[in-house]
């Protein structure tokens, strides 16, 4: 693919290391096989790295939740519970796989597989480093969200095929949620495309590589519209990956386990894997779109290879996901859809206007920078306050007679 021209010798050694390793494997093969083997190696590396990351994430999540609740978390298997994910994996593999008699057996099997496949496909286009992208297509962002929206089908497939009222109701709720939040999720990154004039993720990342005054990186999150778009994107990503506080599709206290009710053993683990993969992929997307991708935050830190910077940003976003999960209680379904349609969608639409203004006022010059900033901030803050007021109308602050304020 188009990733081969890349072995630029001016890059530092560590930067070229992954490609050199791949060369070491492939240069024994005849020339026509190089492309194919390169792609296969990319697939294997992506699967193993993110599979391992999934294992680590489950442990990290339980540890973080534990410490937030002032308890140690899993600490029995291995050193500080390091082997817990592998113990869980063995347990999941050896469990009985129960399929209800009345279930649609084909769809019941297909649902977790297609969900996992869709979430893995999204990893193909994310640029993990300066030279590391498995599939560098010029409509990468569009591809990412097109593939990502296939997960909704799988969730409904799971709910329908289980032949269980809880599963079906939960799947319908999940559909309502996922479709509601698909809209703000996609509208929130359109400003990036407006500014960058491209859908190619590698291009978007490389556009964010400069530094103002030698210190402030040109990441889109540091612009007023970019910050809003990033916040909207992250909130929608939370809902899109079924994470708390938007984890209604698998709300244990209301719907048993939602569309997962009739799943057991490794199929259940596949659903979880897909959830974590989706979360990781959306975080990776947020890093590429708003946080400057693999760019270092300071020109003095460029000696650290780009893929490590990507990993640092990705992991901190994931830690943020877990922090949020540890903090917020779950929304009700009416609050959830209200929040999407009455708050996130209008805000993201207004953000398009803000971005348009930001682009059109680009050549106002340094003299008018302050007025430009003020107008942009007004465009952001006023709708935010008005929409918040409207969203909170009719709801008083809840007071408890039994708890201190």
């Amino acid at each position: 693919m188009s990733m081969l021209p890349i072995l630029q010798t001016q890059d530092p050694y560590l930067e070229r290391l992954p490609l050199l390793l791949r060369e070491a494997f492939t240069h024994y093969l005849p020339e026509p096989w190089h492309t194919l083997s390169n792609q296969l190696i990319s697939i294997v590396v992506i699967l193993s790295v993110f599979g391992l990351l999934f294992a680590i994430l489950t442990l990290a999540e339980r540890k973080i939740l534990g410490h937030v609740q002032n308890r140690p978390g899993p600490n029995r298997t291995g050193f500080f519970g390091m082997l817990q994910p592998f113990a869980d994996g063995i347990k999941m593999l050896t469990k009985e796989d129960i399929v209800p008699v009345a279930a649609d057996h084909v769809l019941h099997l297909l649902a977790p597989v297609s969900l996992l496949a869709a979430s893995i496909l999204t990893f193909a286009v994310i640029p993990y480093g300066k030279n590391l992208v498995a599939l560098d297509i010029n409509t990468a962002a569009l591809y990412f969200f097109a593939v990502g929206s296939a997960t909704e089908l799988s969730v409904f497939m799971a709910g329908w095929s289980s032949n269980n009222k809880y599963s079906l109701l939960a799947a319908m709720r999940a559909l309502a949620q996922l479709i509601s939040y698909e809209l703000p999720l996609i509208i929130s990154w359109i400003p990036v495309v407006m500014v960058a004039s491209t859908l190619s993720l590698t291009r978007i990342v490389s556009l964010q590589s400069g530094y103002s005054f030698g210190v402030l990186p040109h990441w889109y999150v540091f612009t007023p519209w970019g910050f809003v778009a990033f916040a909207l994107f992250m909130v929608s990503a939370l809902a899109e990956s079924n994470r708390s506080p938007f984890d209604l599709p698998e709300a244990e206290s209301e719907l048993i386990a939602g569309h997962l009710t009739e799943y057991s053993g490794f199929k259940y683990a596949l659903f979880f894997m897909a959830e974590y993969f989706g979360m990781t992929a959306l975080s990776g997307m947020a890093v590429s779109l708003f946080l400057g991708g693999w760019n270092a935050p300071s020109p003095y830190l460029t000696f650290i290879p780009s893929y490590l910077w990507f990993a640092v940003k990705l992991l901190s976003l994931l830690a943020g996901f877990m922090w949020i999960r540890a903090t917020f209680p779950r929304l009700r379904i009416d609050q959830l859809t209200r929040f999407a349609w009455k708050f996130l969608v209008p805000l993201s639409l207004i953000n398009l206007v803000t971005t348009a203004f930001w682009i059109l006022s680009q050549n106002w010059g340094h003299l008018y920078f302050i007025p430009r900033l003020i107008i942009t901030l007004i465009l952001i803050v006023v709708p935010y306050i008005l929409l918040s007021k409207k969203l909170g109308r009719g709801y008083a602050v809840r007071t408890y007679s039994y708890a201190p304020q």
Binding site: H67, V68, W323, T327, Y384
Partner: protein, 203 residues
Amino acid sequence: MYGFGLIRGLIVTGKNFVQSFYNPSRYTTQEYPEVKSTPPEAYRSFPFLVTDSETDPLGALRCVACLTCEKECPAQCIFIEKSKDKKPDANGRLQFYPTQFIIDSSVCMSCQICVEVCPFDSIKMDKVFEVAVSSRFENLLLTRDKLTKSNQYFHLISPSEAQEVDDRLAAERKVAQEKAAAQAKAKAEAAALAAQVKPVPAP
């Protein structure tokens, strides 16, 4: 409003997260197998039979096989077989005793009604909680020898209640002894009177 509450919540959980690393006194849990917690005073698991003697536990049961607990048990998990003969109890009176006393521990729901209805303070609630066994049918039927535990053990697990029971039993015993002494005295007096009366010759 405006999302400031969300940030406040995040700060609270963040504080908890950071402080739980260097301040173990924040922990609300204990590392169970290493640290064994003492259950609270009112904690109860299964009933057990109190015996007054460590050396002959089955011979000194307080239970007199009155069958009250068997009749009152809502889960009907107690089975008692009353003895044919009588043995002297701690007060020296002749009483029946249970030749069999069985509690089905899979049915018992730890309601403590047997303890409340027992007129002889002979059945009390235990505090064991490590009741897991390796075999499926082990310890499902708690027979008389498994149920019998000494009064010292009762003092160990719930001291205040055991002390109260002991004091009450001692007081009852004292009253019974005084009553017996008074009766004996009255009997002796009556006998003396009869002896006095006896020599009166028949006319």
